[in-house]
Amino acid sequence: MSSPKRPLPAPTPETQHFWEGCRAGELRLQRCGDCEHVYYPPRPFCPKCSSREVNIFAASGRGTLASYVINERPHPAFGEPHSIAIVQLEEGPKMASNVVGCPQTPEALQLDMSLQVTFEAVSEDITLPLFTPVEVSS
């Protein structure tokens, strides 16, 4: 019997570049060539000005913790209580993710803490962008 699987994304033609980027270790966002708006989730046009002149670029992978919950009744694939986070990316958009590499507690998960993207391969095709706390050097 196989263990329960994490729900995995089914990429579409419009999102393929994002998931390929994750596999290549790059967090790819899009910027409008006309109005410079940076947005997420991916689509081949600008949601601010409707332009189709958009460019894909590798984001810094830096962000802060905008909000989160600690899910005490997780999907079977997760097994244990874990964070579901809204990450405020340095470039502007927000994205859903998990904060990993630290205790999954309110004490360890402080709002507005600095985060850095990390990539985790969860299947042959899919690599997910997750985030870890950035150690603040004094």
Binding site: P41, Y68, N71, E72, A85, I86, A96, D112
Partner: protein
């Protein structure tokens, strides 16, 4: 003023646990009760709107031959949008009598539809892989931002549930009626930090239905009319993590003020308020987005018992989704309570209430509809 009124309103005969009825039959049971309330049969209905089930299913099942159909399905506030669309249809003469139905086997899951997003949808690709697993771990995501930005305490979030349980205690049909304290809420099982069990909605079975017609025809119906003064609707996002502002619902702040403006009512005119409460933070967002209080003021407003029995702004007087019932698409029950209050027949009746505002949410801050009711035609 819209010139349209509710002339029939009812919930399912039973609420709570109804394993003996499929989802479709819950729609039909509520519809038959609403027809009885209005003193009509299916033959007098020429417009139908529903969500969670296709209008085709219900029209066929109930024996209705409609000339106007609306299957708008944007989550739990779909019924507010149906009311708004029905008002427009009745005003313009597309039909004469509209039936709006809801039924959901939320607890027993008899003939019920599923929840999980398609893996290729935006939410399926960009939220679900991170473990958003049903509303308790998704709808709750923005609240820590609100708590930090406005200094709301865990006790204040818990107070929302405490006050609504007080209202439920006055309602014999409410699922949960025993009084609870802030400490009881904080001691209840953690579901998704910072949300405890008692800050999350119930999961029950039930249904409800409304019958609408134009003011000129209300004397043809038996039900005491409740007048629709104003309506509003909007949508924002299928992903709660993509809300423009994590401390405010854009859909609320468009639908609510739009409905109140059309109704021509000021905040001080409102005697009774319903705000769809799937989770304890929704009334806080709703109070602020509707402009009843300023940004960040809702936690103190509720803490100081302004929305409690005896307070200046009675809110969620049936006990709400937290204590009355919540089948999944709760908006219909909020509408039913507004209608009961305007008819003067609510179990926890607000004495002399003449204007009721009913704000719904759909998805997880994804959509909103708002209806302003009056117990008299708007002059």
């Amino acid at each position: 003023m819209t010139g349209v009124a509710v002339v029939g309103a009812a919930e399912t005969t039973e609420l709570g646990k109804i394993p003996g009825m499929s989802q479709q039959m819950l729609h039909a049971d509520a519809a038959l009760n609403a027809m009885a309330d209005a003193g009509i049969t299916a033959k007098q209905i020429d417009g139908i709107a529903t969500a969670g089930q296709r209008p085709t299913d219900l029209a066929f099942y109930l024996g209705i031959t409609p000339e106007w159909v609306d299957g708008t399905s944007v989550g739990g506030c779909s019924f507010m949008l149906h009311v708004r669309h029905a008002v427009a249809a009745l005003q313009s003469g597309l039909c004469k009598t509209v039936l709006i139905t809801h039924g959901e086997s939320g607890r027993s899951r008899v003939g019920a539809s599923g929840f999980a997003p398609e893996p290729s949808s935006l939410a399926g690709q960009f939220e679900a892989p991170f473990g958003t697993f049903g509303p308790p771990s998704t709808f709750t995501l923005p609240v820590l931002r609100y708590m930090k930005d406005y200094g709301m305490s865990h006790e204040q979030l818990a107070m929302v549930a405490v006050v609504q349980r007080e209202w439920a205690g006055l309602n014999p049909r409410a699922s949960m009626r025993d009084p609870i304290s802030v400490q009881d809420v904080l001691d209840s099982r953690m579901i998704a930090y910072p949300f405890h069990l008692l800050e999350c909605c119930l999961v029950t079975d039930g249904g409800g239905a409304l019958i609408l017609t134009t003011d000129e025809r209300i004397s043809d119906f038996a039900g005491k009319p409740v007048h629709i003064w104003g309506t509003g609707e909007s949508v924002e996002t299928p992903m709660v993590t993509q809300m423009e502002d994590l401390t405010s619902s854009k859909a609320f702040s468009i639908a609510g003020p739009r409905a109140m403006k059309e109704a021509g009512v000021a905040h001080s005119d409102v005697d009774h308020l319903m705000i769809y409460d799937a989770f304890a933070h929704l009334p806080l967002y709703g109070l602020e987005d509707l402009g009843f209080v300023g940004r960040g003021e809702a936690p103190d407003f509720i803490w100081e018992r302004n929305t409690a029995p005896g307070g200046s702004l009675p809110l969620n007087t049936n006990g709400g989704g937290l204590s009355y019932m919540h089948s999944g698409m709760y908006g219909m029950y909020a509408l039913q309570e507004s209608v009961r209050q305007m008819r003067g027949v609510a179990p926890a009746q607000v004495e002399g209430a003449e204007v009721s505002v009913c704000l719904g949410v759909g998805g997880m801050f994804g959509a909103s509809g708002c209806i302003v009711f009056g117990n008299q035609p708007k002059t």
